[in-house]
Amino acid sequence: MADEVQIAQGIRVRLIQAVPIPLAVDLYCQPGEVLAIAGPSGSGKTTVLRAIAGLHHAENGAIKCQGEIWQDSAMQFYLPAHQRAVGLVFQHYALFPHFTALGNVLEAMAHLPQAVRKERAEELLRRVHLDGLGNRYPKALSGGQQQRVAVARALAREPKVLLLDEPFSAVDQVTRRRLYRELNELRRSLSMPIILVTHDLEEATMLSDRLCILHRGVTLQSGPPLEVAAHPVSATVARLMDQQNLFTAQIVSHDQLAQKTLLRWRGLFLEAHYQPDYASGARVCWMIQSSQVLLHRRHRESNGHRENPLSGTIIEYMVLGDYVSARVEVDRHLKIAITLTVPVYVARRNELSYGEEVTVSLLAEGIHLMPFEKLHGIK
């Protein structure tokens, strides 16, 4: 948790409403930090962003940005959108079609003296690598170029918070990669809080310092993306983080001396790292990231091979770019399978393919326990 001073200089958002979609949101973003709000479609991500910008009036809200109050329902206070210094990049950019790229940027500069506007606008276009294209109308620009104009226009307002609403969803993958790099480069020079809404977890992990998981309008967990992925607070968060290896089990015992917790999973016993918050005999949910599943090398022992070894058959084999995802059925009768990801070269070296017999280890350090909930009900 960041300290209160840091938060006061950033943005703090609390929203509660029942209609049109239920919201129970509590989040903050510090200056210079990128916070990604991620969640499935319909989870309320865009509504949260719109509420921050003043385009959606939540029933109960408290929004404070860099010391300025934007909404305080307790005081019946609501600042309209045009009085909030926000830079919002819309999903489809929403450029003004009757202005050129430069004109679009200039429209957001009414707060500056006339004499300096043009120079500043041109400088912003240079910063987003659009120098020379200022006289083009939006229609004559590619998707990536339109997005850059939208970013320049948002920055032209000299915003106290920069809001990005799925800004990469409308461009092709090659352009998207380039825009990711550009945003990463740009953000280093920006000192305001940046909130990015996305449904793409990979994008959120790549671009954000902190990730906030939103589900049905409720902020479930916030933290560094890798931390949220490895230690979700609930099975629901684990599922939303696209966790493949999510199961239920029962706590058998805790061994404080060995710093181990023993689980019974179906008929198998598993050793997890010491997690004494759950009582012996209690039912729990547990997960292990597919990258924490260790593949045993053929004919050679590797470190950690003694930890929860399981053998089975590969029933699914997919190459995902530089990585391979394989599902190993460890119990044919119970139909339970563990998913692991390994670099392509490791898969090749170990001759992994569909139908092959392999042995894997579930690293005790990677086994994360969560309160029990029915897994079939999670959607």
Partner: protein, 222 residues
Amino acid sequence: MDWEALLLSVKLSALTVLFLLPVGVITGRWLAYSQFYGRSMVQAFLAIPLVLPPTVLGYYLLVSLGGGSALGKILERLFGHTLVFNFEGLVIASIIFNLPFAIQPIQRAFEAIPREIREAAACCGMKPTKVLWRIELPLAWTGIVSAITMTFAHTLGEFGVVLMVGGNIPGETKTIAIAIYDRVQAFDNNSAAVMSAFLLAFSMMAIAFTYLITDRNKNTYG
């Protein structure tokens, strides 16, 4: 060619456009962006002149604007004379009859502006009035020009309402459409033909013009 009638028609059309333009912009924008109970009833009421026989509308206007009705009496006190069978009455009738021609194209044009674009304008720090001047009106201009053209052309050729409310007084209420009827009644087919051809050509050009500008701006929002 009855030049006096043509001049009167042009004057009537121009005045109708002048009065209806602000009404069209305000009402069209209101209907495009506001959700309220009874919205469809309001729209239906404003569209009635499209389907109602002009004589029926003319009849009601004649009755309500005439000296016999309460409204007529108020208007008589205001203007010093009744509003039937004179030019002022004709302008009022024409404004009412042309409401849908002025409002609908403007409403459609405002509706076509994506909500995000208006919101982006607010996020750029523009006040609602500035959003209207800088963003909405420039983007809705084809609808506004369509409304002007259609209202003008439609008023020029209006017959039923004019006859009912205005009668056939040369220089006061005898418009070009009435003059054509008048000429045919008098077996002066040549004059009728010339004036009809003029109206046909003008109407054709007006409609072609609105289609042209609408087509040109079809892909505004990419």
